[in-house]
């Protein structure tokens, strides 16, 4: 039945049939993914306001006038339910998600990979099942962001059902989380994942008695081989329809604790308001566990003083009986319940699996071999990323040049439009595309490290060193990649779980001397330093960049991201052979995000910088009369104390797009031409001979060195800034990064220049 979108029901699957209206409207809707045939879901309809739609897992708001022009079909009879996938990190949750929904999503082997909320739709019988992939967690105690996200989703969005994904070869710890879902009183289905590995290791699980003892349906699955998916879907719907009906199972906390729970519960039951929202037994447990979020929530309600007081009395009572913290006592009971269940359902444990992994670790994490192997792996990764990407990058540059020359021949010569399209647009697209090979290769390598389990070992091996500079073991890889290119490096910080550590790593990363700074160094070292000194000068720049990163990490940790660092406590997951499919999905998912999110910002930035160097019209392509040069002259007083003149200022501003542009711009300003500027003799000569009106030379070794230092430290290039914006999700951090690094560059350059002059250089 075809109806208008405005009249469609909330939370039902609807299919778009047609869109009326002009091209403009259609194009706009197409951009948002609204095309005929697309199945979407109407989430909300604000009174006389916009309609909120869910399209491919993201929410969109559409004006009422627009919604009126869209005809849709409500798939009558398809019932829509929402389920959550939850489980420990490394339980293979993401592969189950992919199997259920067919959607692409990363499969990781490193704790905490799934940070964003991922959604997808599965169909079974009469049902459209909206599947939400929750972050992998070990518990729901809310000390980490992932746990807060997972718990709040379950509590506030109230999914119809939770699929608890557990690793069959590591049941004891995995079931700890399951017991917490049981307490939330949401219907549960258990996906006993990686059951093949457990079986191979000689483990036998009696599914039926496990079902009985836990009061939920247990399904055996093998996520990476797509086994058990249909059975899982069937069990989800069966459980939703309450057939078979399981008895409700709850962990018994023992007489003393249960008595206290009852006291708290009785007081809670008087507060209808609280328990209509959350299960009251669960609330009581959380109060005894001193759960800060719940205590705050309850404390903010009226007349709850007696309740809070009782929970404190109860906690003291438990503490006095057991001589331990109530949380520990309750956790102990949960683990007791779990081992009771496992004793009755399991024969043999999957020790063999861990043993094999341990054998590998005996070599890979060995006290003597560990570091050489690690350095070897890093070298191999760095080498393959940067050398394999070289050819494709050159090809992209050649293609860009070819497209540029073809297009420019079609356009009026030396016109603004020619400049805009060739230098602005094609040049901008080129600077986005040129990073694509390197980024896809990076993500492929990262996926291998993560999915195999080696990433956790890297953190294990280098943590001592990284901890000394206030960072986490996982910050190592981004810092290493920074020597190649900061764009992939900053994207690689996703493996860092703690937000503070991640932001610190992002903010210090641009100080690592990247490949684009090298042409600048080569030019100035070649001109102003002797062959003997060259390598020392170059090395000093790399070291200064690294030391700056270390110092800034310390400072940021001390003053900006204050407080205790997150616990390092981390699982070392068993090694696994990654599947190619998972690696490719992973690479594609993340690579696509770069093109989509960072790409647009880079493109816009390139166009702006182009406009500044091509305008005003009266400059007629003469860079010295352009806005960039005007800005260069304008900032001259500020960079004067660093020994820089307006030409250097202009080059530095143009270098914001990419640092190697500093060289090309100087080439243009000195009339030496842009091509092969670093090798161009005329530019070298011009740099040596340029003088101020007073007759003093503009450049000497000191100025050259200070300039290199400034290029090393100042504003991360446009692409990096765009990625910082994307990865921190905030313009604020991007501007902070741009601002503080430029200030720091100025400060360091000032000290070195004035100090150098004082010492007579």
């Amino acid at each position: 039945m075809n109806i208008r979108l405005t009249d469609a029901h909330i939370d039902k699957e609807i299919k778009i049939i047609s869109i009326e209206g002009g091209r403009g409207l259609k194009d706009k809707l197409t951009e948002m993914g609204l095309v005929p045939g697309e199945v979407v879901r109407k989430k909300e309809h604000l009174k006389n306001g916009p309609v909120i739609l869910e399209v491919k897992g993201t929410r969109l708001a559409i004006g009422r006038a627009m919604a009126d022009k869209i005809t849709v079909d409500e798939r009558v009879g398809k019932k829509s339910i929402t389920i959550a996938l939850a489980g420990n990190p490394n339980s293979g949750k993401s592969s189950i998600f992919n199997n259920l929904t067919g959607a692409r999503q990363h499969v990781g082997n490193y704790p905490g990979v799934t940070v964003e909320k991922k959604e997808g739709i599965a169909y079974y019988g009469d049902y459209a099942i909206n599947v939400v992939d929750l972050p992998g967690t070990y518990s729901l105690a809310t000390y980490s962001l992932d746990e807060v996200v997972a718990r709040n989703f379950i509590l506030d969005e109230k999914p119809d059902l939770i699929v608890a994904v557990v690793d069959a070869s590591n049941l004891e710890r995995n079931l700890y989380l399951t017991t917490q879902f049981m307490e939330l009183e949401v219907p549960l289905v258990m996906a006993m994942n990686m059951s093949d590995v457990a079986k191979q290791a000689g483990q036998h699980i009696n599914d039926n008695s496990l079902s009985e003892l836990l009061g939920l349906k247990v399904v055996q699955t093998v996520g990476n081989k797509n086994r058990g998916t249909t059975e899982l879907l069937k069990s989800i719907i069966d459980t939703y329809q309450q057939k078979p009906h399981f008895r409700k199972v709850a962990v018994n906390y023992g007489r003393e604790v249960e008595e206290e729970l009852l006291k708290v519960n009785n007081l809670l039951n008087e507060k209808d308001l609280l328990i209509t929202h959350y299960p009251s037994r669960w609330l009581s447990i959380k109060l005894l566990e001193d759960d800060s979020q719940i205590i705050e929530h309850i404390g903010s309600q009226p007349n709850t003083e007696a309740l809070i007081k009782q929970s404190i009395v109860s906690r003291d009572h438990i503490r006095s009986i057991f001589a331990d913290e109530p949380e520990t006592v309750l956790a102990d009971r949960r683990y007791g319940f779990i081992s009771g269940v496992l004793r009755e359902t399991i024969t043999h444990t999957a020790e063999a699996h861990v043993r094999l992994s341990d054998t590998i670790d005996r070599i890979v994490a060995n006290r003597i071999l560990g570091i050489p192997i690690f350095l070897g792996v890093m070298w191999l990764m760095f080498k393959s990323i940067f050398s394999l990407s070289q050819k494709p990058m050159e090809l992209i540059e050649i293609a860009q040049g070819w497209v540029g020359s073809v297009v420019s021949s079609l356009l009026p010569q030396n016109s603004l439009i020619q400049g805009f399209i060739v230098d602005g647009i094609i040049g901008g697209v080129g600077s986005v595309l040129v990073f694509v090979p390197i980024i896809f290769l990076l993500f492929f390598c990262m996926a291998i490290l993560e999915d195999s389990g080696y990433m956790a070992r890297i953190a294990f091996i280098v943590d001592r060193f990284m901890h000394k500079i206030g960072l986490h073991g996982r910050s190592f890889i981004p810092m290493l990649l920074g020597f190649g290119c900061n764009v992939p490096a900053i994207m690689a910080t996703r493996v860092i779980e703690s937000k503070k550590d991640r932001l610190t790593t992002i903010l210090i990363n641009p100080f690592m001397s990247c490949g684009a700074k090298l042409p600048v160094y080569m030019l100035f070292i070649g001109v102003f330093f002797s062959k003997e000194a060259a390598s020392n000068v170059l090395f000093s720049l790399y070291i200064i960049g690294f030391l700056m990163a270390v110092v800034m990490a310390k400072i940021l940790r001390q003053f900006v991201f204050k407080g205790e660092s997150a616990p390092f406590v981390m699982e070392l997951p068993p090694y696994r052979v990654p599947t190619l499919k998972a690696l490719i999905i992973h690479m594609w998912e993340r690579g696509r995000l770069y093109i989509k999110k960072a790409g647009t910002v880079i493109l816009v930035g390139c166009v702006i910088i182009w406009a500044l160097s091509a305008l005003p019209l009266s400059s007629k392509g003469d860079l010295t009369k352009s806005y960039v040069a005007k800005i260069g002259r304008f900032v001259e007083p500020v960079i004067r104390p660093l020994g820089f003149d307006w030409k250097i200022g202009t080059a530095l501003i143009a270098g914001v797009v990419a640092k190697e542009i500093v060289v090309g711009t100087l080439g243009v300003l000195y009339g030496a031409g842009e091509d092969e500027a670093e090798g161009s003799l005329s530019l070298r000569k011009a740099l040596q001979e340029d003088t101020y009106p007073s007759g003093k030379k503009v450049f000497n070794p000191l100025v050259a060195y200070v300039l290199m230092l400034f290029v090393l430290l100042y504003i991360p290039c446009l692409s990096t800034a765009a990625v910082i914006r994307k990865e921190t999700g905030s313009w604020g951090w991007m501007f902070f990064s741009v601002g503080y690094s430029t200030f720091l560059a100025w400060l360091v350059a000032f000290i070195v220049y004035q100090g150098g002059r004082f010492l007579g250089f």
């Binding site: 967690t137 070990y138 518990s139 105690a141 000390y143 070869s169 590591n170 004891e172 710890r173 700890y176 001193d290 331990d324 913290e325 949380e327 520990t328 956790a331 102990d332 683990y335 444990t349 999957a350 020790e351 861990v354 992994s357 341990d358 670790d361 005996r362 994490a365 060995n366 006290r367 003597i368 560990g370 570091i371 690690f374 956790a456 953190a459 294990f460 091996i461 280098v462 943590d463 001592r464 060193f465 901890h467 073991g473 205790e564 616990p567 390092f568 406590v569 981390m570 699982e571 070392l572 997951p573 068993p574």
Partner: protein, 81 residues
């Protein structure tokens, strides 16, 4: 078994097995320990030190867990044979 001198998980050497007696950590760390299965009565096995001596890897409940020595100091244990 006679009562031994109390040691912490940070004092163990590879292949040592020990029973957790008490976890004396701040709230965040304690909650993390509980989630990872470290609580009184549990048996842990010291597996190895990282190449630089810190962090360490323990075996607990059939899986491997790594933690810094400064964190392991909060786990009071009793060696078992």
């Amino acid at each position: 078994m006679s009562k031994q001198k109390h040691v912490t998980a940070a004092d163990l050497i590879p292949k040592d097995r020990a029973k957790v007696l008490r976890v004396s950590a701040t709230t965040i760390l304690r909650k993390k320990f509980l989630a990872m299965g470290i609580l009184p009565g549990v048996t842990i096995e010291m597996i190895r030190h990282a190449p630089l001596g810190d962090p360490i890897a323990l075996k607990i409940k059939g899986y491997h867990l790594s933690l810094r020595k400064s964190e392991a100091k909060h786990i009071l244990v009793e060696k078992v044979k």
